[in-house]
Amino acid sequence: MKATVHVKLKAGVLDPQGKAIAHALNSLGYDEVSGARVGKEITLELAETDKAKAEARVTEMCEKLLANTVIERFDIDIQD
């Protein structure tokens, strides 16, 4: 199985990289861009066949290491 984890800064947490990207896009003429937020995608290869178990374990991994829940939130997508 494969798990794809998306880690994003929580709403309200300043994202200076996102700001810089939005600014750069504006200066390229993409005036419709009014904001950008940067996140991370982490793909995990799992030796697990039970989807529910995999989801529970990956949630634990996110809480323990992959995301800092003071500033970040995460979504998990499990694929066969």
Partner: protein
Amino acid sequence: MKSAVIVFPGSNCDRDAFEAIKLITGEAPAMVWHRETELPDGVDFILVPGGFSYGDYLRSGAIAGRSPIMREVVSAADKGVAVMGVCNGFQTLTETGLLPGALLRNANLHFVCKEQPLEIANSNTRFTSAYSGTRDTVIPVAHHDGNYFADEATLDRLEGEGCVVFRYQGNPNGSARDIAGVTNEAGNVMGLMPHPERAVDQTHGGTGGRAVFESLLGSV
């Protein structure tokens, strides 16, 4: 005073910390590798140094915060041992949960490296008592992720309980409420972005960080 300096792959202020501790306390600290599972017996003070532990992969301090020795540091802190995290060490202590909040990318996106004027916001701690009667000092900063963040309720609590110990004069990184250094509620754990170990000798260009080590020496 018995001290220990934790060393991670990518730490680069561990030698400066060693020299500063030796100079001021008169006793060389033990250098403890991240894979160790025990701290030296009877240690009074643990310093988590600056640098780029594990290449800052994932988040600054994230992987260091989960290394075997940090479990021992957390348990020593819970028993009241003094623990100080400088720069990457501060990031690491927030990642372990020993200190509240997190350090975000500097708001201006620049790596800041300069002599930084600071206000001593609380000189009634075991890390700052030797600053008593002094309102400010200058300690160098050198970081990319020093923008302190915590939710408003946490910031109010930190200020209300005197946990904010150093504030920037001329905020270099966008840090909430100009916070440069905080302690935990119990007052035995401090994290700060400026590098006191780089300002302990006249040859450093200033001695503004000396009092941090003098305070610790006086507290044990």
